[in-house]
């Protein structure tokens, strides 16, 4: 009974704040200004405490907020603009940061004034992230960072970066990592474009040369960086695997379009296309089911399969789409132009999407790593014998 009253009260509170937000909305308002108000009213993340963009109520009300804002025609796309911040950074900072850190970083992140990036992978630490070798050495109230990161999305326009580095090479690899937030404009940070097979440099290499980071920018304890990194990755993978799409959208849409545009009628190709349609729809329904179960508080195995299934299927469907184009699939309209996009690149030609999809089973955790995680954490299968787990990091074989 008292629960019901609490629920009613929370809903009333959220509704009141929404009214307040929307009553002050004016279509000519800059989106950033609107998002600032949304934050200040506690409607950025309703589950966060008051004063930090939230109202301290159940996260389920966030859906209501988003629907109402969208219905009013007010801007909702800050998450897409600052995905690495809002999609991943916010969760990590709220879980591991101090009040002061939350105060400093959350608001400008939410308004997209400060863009964020994630500095995890290194040339020698891909799937084996814990093997990272970029290092930080303490110097009074500061840390001095040296090393190299790769595959950093949008690093060239980011203000802040999430940066796990090695602070103790003498302990086993998972234990000697500390997690910092680095000012990407600091001296010694060098961001260089990293071109992919499409010719785009969606990613960057980032070099750190005696970069100084205040100790106040450290998240959680010294040596706790692995745990913090895991929070970040988990958020990323759930985010990739739980994108809810309408039926027939995404890459299957391109395939259906190519089928019609190229006027196909071969039943063998039709069967293959239908198979992809069915697999895509089953994936979509699984994401939908997982999201429902997650919201209902009874998450099951269906919640962890999305990223893996999506990667393989998206690769296959984009490849098939180009196949449906026959000779036209051998073209690359516009040719390869090495360039550096300033935001997440949208969809392109089928050929470009086909090439871009090759990374789906690598980025955000390779499909091999995802299968390990599903096998071990969800199915409860034992891990492999590890040669690297208990050795001091500096003694682990590296080829």
């Amino acid at each position: 009974m008292s629960d019901t009253i609490a629920v009613d009260k929370a809903e009333a509170l959220v509704t009141e704040k929404i009214e307040e937000l929307l009553s002050g909305y004016d279509p000519s308002m800059e989106p950033q200004e609107f998002w600032g108000r949304q934050y200040d009213l506690g409607l950025a993340w309703v589950q966060y405490p008051e004063g930090f963009g939230g109202l301290g109520v159940s996260p389920k009300y966030q859906g209501l907020v988003q629907r109402r804002i969208a219905a009013a025609g007010a801007p909702t796309w800050n998450r897409e603009v600052n995905l690495l911040g809002i999609g991943m950074g916010a969760g990590v900072i709220s879980a591991h940061g101090t009040d002061e850190q939350m105060r400093m970083w959350l608001r400008p992140m939410f308004t997209t004034e400060d863009m964020w990036c994630q500095l995890f992978s290194e040339p020698g630490a891909g799937s084996d992230l814990a093997n990272l070798s970029a290092k930080a050495v303490r110097d009074g109230d500061e840390w001095i960072v040296n090393g190299q990161k790769v595959w950093t999305t949008l690093a060239h326009i980011a203000k802040w970066g999430m940066l796990p580095v090695r602070t103790d090479p003498d302990v086993p690899k998972h234990k000697g990592i500390t997690y910092f937030i680095v000012d990407m404009e600091a001296e010694g940070v060098d961001v260089r474009p990293f071109y992919q097979i499409t010719g785009e440099a969606e990613f960057n290499e980032v070099f750190f040369d005696d970069v100084r980071i205040p100790d106040a920018y450290r998240l959680d304890e010294v040596g706790a960086g692995w745990r913090v990194s895991m929070t970040t990755l988990m958020n990323e993978r759930v985010a990739i695997g739980s994108r809810s799409l309408p039926r027939g959208s995404g890459s299957i849409k391109d395939a259906m379009k190519a089928w019609k545009e190229y006027d196909h009628d071969d039943p063998a190709l039709r069967d293959q296309l239908t198979r992809y349609w069915a697999e895509w729809e089953a994936l979509r329904l699984t994401v939908e089911r997982a999201n429902q179960m997650r919201k209902a508080g009874v998450p099951g195995p269906e919640g962890s399969t999305g990223k893996l299934a999506w990667a393989d299927l998206n690769k296959a469907i984009t490849a098939f789409t180009v196949e449906l184009m026959d000779w036209d699939g051998t073209l690359y309209p516009g040719g390869y132009v090495l360039h550096r996009p300033t935001e997440f690149e949208g969809e392109g030609t089928p050929q470009r999407n086909f090439l871009r999809a090759r990374a789906n089973s690598i980025e955000g955790g390779t499909s091999e790593i995802m299968r390990n995680i599903l096998g071990e954490r969800v199915l409860g299968l034992p891990g492999e014998p590890r040669v690297d787990k208990d050795l001091p990091w500096k003694e682990v074989p590296r080829g």
Binding site: L285, R289, T305
Partner: protein
């Protein structure tokens, strides 16, 4: 395409309880030893089990209260079907409760419903449908038998193949072409001129018979509903059957996954549990993904049975996706179990044979995808 219906996947508390009691009952009463007994028996039917299931309410779940049922929906029935698939439940449940009951419910007159459905709900009746005359039996177009007219009587001559549990059905609903179109006839098992012959099946837990009509004479009352009305009814019944089989497949596939995982956790080779090898671990992860996809497609279908437009998509989607998931799961479970999985002694082969057999019934995956392609406008 119309808007995609959004279904609620979570079970209600009542449905969740139904799952628990069903699973518990099946574990107690339908252990693998019993399944094997039924497989080795000629009819594959145990009347005590049949009656117990009816007492638990399984038969009446999706039958409206006015016809002696409990008035729940297919969503409740789907819970039972999934659990039946998990336990390899033997017996004419699908043919009676899904196929015959729905043929009557959709195609029968009100009188026929009142007359026939309570018997099904109570577990007093076993029925089946005798539809196809050749191996390619998946739809209305595959039925060629003609019902002739002799005075006031309809006369049936012909052979119907692959009749599920034909030997134990008290009433066989068959389909034949009349001047008015395709018509369903209710044929009592003891009708003159009717003979039912056992055939051996790959999946010995699901029996089939060949039903021969030699001048079987029937009155107009034997017509189910109107003369010539069977075509669209059969379409609907076959879609419901596909969904029912998909739910069974989901249950069976989960048994496979669980069995393979447990084996991989406990079987040691090279000093390690074999589930620690990526070859096994990744195969099982992939199996889980496809089982989860099959679940989603089957659960979705079970919740849209009343949406005839959506069922054109949902039914073949469920059957094709669940067929492939179950086939792969059963086949891979044999591989994970190694030699053990290839023995008669271990239960996996029962599931494997069920998986293959079910995937072929009422149109295999290619047929299902043709239906789906039509439905999505390809």
């Amino acid at each position: 395409m119309a808007d995609t219906p959004r279904v609620t996947f979570a079970l209600t508390e009542e449905q969740e309880m139904l799952r628990q009691t069903t699973r518990q009952f099946l574990e107690d009463r339908v252990p693998p030893t019993f399944v094997r007994e039924m497989a080795e028996s000629k009819t594959g039917f145990d009347s005590a089990l049949w009656q117990s299931g009816a007492e638990l309410g399984w038969h009446s779940l999706a039958i409206p209260e006015e016809y002696g049922g409990a008035g729940y929906t297919f969503a409740e029935l789907s819970v039972v079907l999934e659990e039946m698939g998990r336990s390899l439940f033997p017996g004419p449940f699908v043919s009676t409760v899904v196929m015959a009951a729905n043929a009557i419910l959709i195609g029968g007159s009100d009188l026929q419903k009142k007359d026939l459905l309570p018997g099904i709900a109570l577990g007093e009746t076993v029925m089946t449908l005798a539809l196809f005359e050749g191996p390619r039996g998946a739809g209305v177009g595959d039925i060629a038998m003609v019902a002739g007219r002799d005075g006031d009587a309809w006369v049936l001559d012909g052979v119907k193949l692959h009749v599920l549990f034909g030997e134990v059905a008290g009433t066989i609903i068959t389909a034949a072409n009349t001047p008015g179109g395709l018509s369903f006839f209710l044929v009592p098992a003891d009708a003159d001129g009717l003979s039912v012959e056992h055939v051996d099946t790959l999946d010995a837990t699901r029996k089939q018979a060949t039903v021969t009509f030699s001048g079987v004479r029937l009155g107009d009352k034997a017509l189910l509903g109107e003369e010539g009305s069977a075509g669209p009814v059969l379409d609907q019944v076959l879609r419901l059957t596909s969904v029912a089989l998909a739910l069974e497949q989901v249950g069976g596939a989960q048994w496979c996954l669980q069995t393979a995982v447990e084996h991989a956790q406990t079987r040691f080779q090279f000093g390690r549990a074999i589930g620690s090898f990526q070859a096994i671990k990744h195969r099982l992860a992939d199996m889980m993904v496809s089982v989860e996809h099959a679940k989603s497609a089957a659960y979705h279908a079970a919740r849209v049975v009343d949406d005839s437009g959506e069922m054109l998509i949902a039914a073949p989607l469920a059957k094709s996706v669940a067929s492939e998931a179950y086939l792969t799961a059963a086949s891979d479970t044999i591989q994970v179990l190694g030699g053990t999985g290839f023995t008669w002694e271990h239960d996996t082969h029962l599931y494997f044979k069920r998986a293959k057999s079910t995937s072929l019934m009422f149109g295999g995956v290619h047929h299902q995808r043709r239906l789906l392609a039509d439905a999505i406008g390809l």
